[in-house]
């Protein structure tokens, strides 16, 4: 069976690219945590969003393959967000859809709909370190980035591509994470994430994510329309692009349950 879980949470990843800086933190750890908390706060109020996504996978020889999907997400007060997505390409997985209920203090709940069998399957979220649809994005890269799932450390400032940025390290608390740590660069002016380095369990640099082409929606929420993930160890890369972002479309809780998953086209 294919692994498709959590894909809809791509939009949640996009949401967390906006990382504002909070001042007056005493220690590096407190300062890092304050940034994460403030970041979470700043993205509150988006209510719901929908988008179209295209992923281009590139192997070392430069051979490309494409996946397209549509995603919906719903903000949940006091817990992780709910997200739902459906594949359009490749054609053999067309109509395959996934539903994720992210949680801040317990494991996420995930279901997968297989249209050929008309069957909804519950799946373990243990596979978070695994690749999403053969791409260089892992499930945990695209899942809901709850504050409580990491510990943080502010590492300093740096100018990156002409922009002033903060450097924040975060360490996954989940034993199933594929990473020892992540290091992110956050632009000071717009509080958007410019780069993330992922380190594997042996603490070797594994991947780099570069989000770009940021657009602002509802005069508040910044979203990158392009994300480039490069795997330094395998030489493979994945480009993820977003289109047709819409916010506050009137989605309801009932659009994010198992029955809605079966009806998703």
């Amino acid at each position: 069976m294919m692994k498709l879980t959590g894909l809809s949470a791509f939009t949640l990843l996009a949401a967390t690219m906006v990382m504002p800086f909070a001042a007056n933190a005493e220690t590096a750890e407190e300062k890092g945590l304050a940034i994460a908390i403030e970041s979470d706060k700043r993205d509150q109020g988006y209510v719901d969003s929908t988008s179209d996504m295209r992923m281009i996978l590139r192997n070392r020889a430069g051979k490309e393959s494409t996946r397209t999907m549509r995603a919906l997400s719903l903000e949940v007060e006091g817990d992780g967000d709910k997200s739902l997505s459906v594949f359009d390409e490749p054609a053999d997985v067309k109509g395959t859809a996934s539903l994720t209920w992210a949680h801040s203090t317990k494991p996420d709940e995930q279901w997968l709909y297989l249209p050929a069998l008309k069957r909804v399957k519950r799946i373990s979220s243990k596979n978070k370190s695994g690749p999403f649809m053969g791409s260089e994005f892992a499930f945990e890269d695209i899942g809901s980035q709850e504050v409580d799932k990491y510990s943080y450390k502010y590492l300093g400032d740096e100018v990156i591509d002409g922009a002033d940025a903060f450097i924040v390290e975060r360490i996954p608390l989940d034993k199933n994470s594929g990473y020892k740590k992540q290091v992110s660069w956050i632009e000071k002016e717009r509080y958007i994430m410019l780069k993330v380095d992922y380190y594997d369990r042996k603490n070797a640099l594994l991947k780099t994510l570069v989000p770009s082409e940021y657009e602002q929606y509802l005069d508040k929420f910044w979203r990158p329309l392009r994300m480039e993930m490069t795997n330094h160890q395998s030489g493979k890369s994945t480009t993820l692009t977003f289109a047709n972002y819409k916010f506050q479309t009137g989605l309801k809780d009932a659009d994010f349950n198992k029955n809605a998953l079966k009806r998703m086209r």
Binding site: M1, M2, K3, L57, N59, S65, T66, P90, A91, D92, V93, K94, G95, E109, L117, K118, R119, R122, I123, S124, K126, N127, S129, G130, P131, M133, G134, N176, G178, D200, R201, K202, Q233, S234, G235, A254, N257, K258, N259, R263, R265
Partner: protein, 424 residues
């Protein structure tokens, strides 16, 4: 039957006219399949290889914000078996969705259940037994279906006015089950025959990491009793469809990394001994099974990245591969009188997902009869090629069938099947 159905494929050009509308969608696949049986059969025709083509096409259209229409015709042409050449309307249904309800009227396909080896609680649709041997291909079922979504759970009500007979391989079909099933001589317990109105209700709910379902079904059992009848020198099997009451439970829980699954049904009826059937087990997944080899420097990462890496090394170096272990215990209270091979059996399955760009996966399963009967081995694997095609292989091996009355007929029916499908 086949001839009649094939003429109905004329429906496709008509549907093409509809596709210009907004919020409409076509999808499906057409495939070629090649089968090879290493042993000659006990059936009259001693063929060992066969070709077949099939098309499974779905058209969907929104009629309004609340109402949608779906039609899904299916057709297969088989070189050897006239009974396997068949067509079906898997779906032809109008769906209306409200705030906390849904109504489906027409022909539809419904799946209930959680286990992998047998689908005990899945009683709504008849099995299309000629199309696949795993019981997962279903014939469309005429129904009126209302679903109510409440805080206390989801409630589903079904009215099933027309019964579909199970399909069986013909005299030239393989795997051959030892005798020809004479579907023309079909018998019913109900005097209404296939027009008996069957009913079903189901309640289901998720509690944190548990999914629970309870159902009640009254009507024509989807599994026929096969009655042997002497016809001159040979024996024919007459399918008899009896009426039954079924109460069933399906439960699935995620307990740490363990996925626990159970399906249990109680069946009773005038022509049926009251009895319980059960499938229970678990699934456990090792994520990135071989990742530890490189992490602990048992294999050097440099060797894995070498351009000349052969197939075996590439497999060992795949730190993305997941392995799922599936174990299920199958039981029928009636023991040897069960009428099917799974009276006390154990499934051990290995599910490989390579998580590569081609979404390569494989499922190896061994079902062992625990009373000294047959061993059934199955392997299903597939891989995407050229973006829109999928290449699959399926094999079933029936071993130790001598002491197993239910599977003895399959002793020469082991086979391998290759399938190439184009998806759109």
């Amino acid at each position: 039957m086949a001839g009649m159905c094939l003429r109905h494929t004329g429906i496709l050009p008509v549907l093409a006219l509809l596709s210009s509308a907004a919020a409409a969608d076509w999808r499906g696949n057409v495939g070629y399949e090649f089968s090879y049986f290493p042993e000659t059969s006990q059936s009259q025709d001693n063929w060992q290889t066969s070709s077949s083509v099939a098309a499974d096409i779905e058209y969907y259209r929104d009629l309004s914000d609340e109402v949608s229409f779906t039609v899904r015709p299916f057709v297969r042409l088989d070189q050897r078996d006239d009974e396997r050449s068949h067509a079906d309307i898997r779906e032809l249904v109008l769906t209306t969705v409200g705030d906390n309800w849904e109504f489906n009227g027409g022909i539809d396909t419904v799946f209930w259940g959680v286990t992998e080896s047998r689908h005990l609680v899945d009683v709504i649709n008849q099995t299309d037994n000629v199309d696949g041997v795993d019981g997962e291909d279903k014939l469309g079922q005429v129904m009126l279906n209302l679903k109510l979504f409440r805080d206390s759970g989801d409630y589903e009500f079904y009215l099933l006015p027309h019964f579909r007979e199970r399909t069986f391989p013909g005299a030239d079909g393989r795997p051959f089950i030892g005798a020809v099933v004479d579907t023309d001589a079909v018998q019913y317990q109900s005097s209404d025959r296939s027009d008996h109105i069957d009913t079903a209700v189901r309640w289901s709910r998720s509690f944190d990491f548990w999914d629970l379902g309870l159902h009640y079904f009254y009507g024509t059992a989807r599994d026929p009793v096969l009655i042997p009848q002497l016809r001159g020198e040979s024996v024919a099997l007459i399918p008899r469809y009896i009426l039954m009451d079924q109460i069933g439970l399906d439960a699935q829980g995620l307990y740490d990394d363990w996925l626990l699954k159970t399906e249990i049904v109680h069946r009773s009826g005038r022509e049926l001994d009251d009895h319980i059937e059960l499938v229970t087990g678990f699934e456990y997944t090792f994520v990135g099974l071989l990742a530890g080899l490189q992490e602990n420097d048992i294999i050097s990462s440099e060797k894995c990245l070498a351009e000349d890496a052969g197939m075996l090394r590439r497999l060992i170096c795949n730190d993305r591969m997941d392995l799922g272990i599936v174990v299920e215990f199958l039981w029928d209270e009636r023991s040897d009188n069960a009428g099917h091979p799974f009276q006390r059996d154990l499934l051990t399955g290995f599910r490989f997902a390579l998580n590569d760009e081609q979404s390569t996966d494989a499922l190896l399963g061994v079902v062992q009869d625990l009373d000294g009967g047959a061993t059934t081995l199955s392997l299903e694997a597939s891989r995407r090629i050229f973006d829109s095609f999928r290449l699959g292989v399926e094999t079933r091996i029936f071993a130790n069938t001598d002491d197993d009355p239910a599977l003895n007929a399959f002793r020469d029916e082991s086979f391998i099947r290759l399938d190439l499908s184009y998806f759109f």
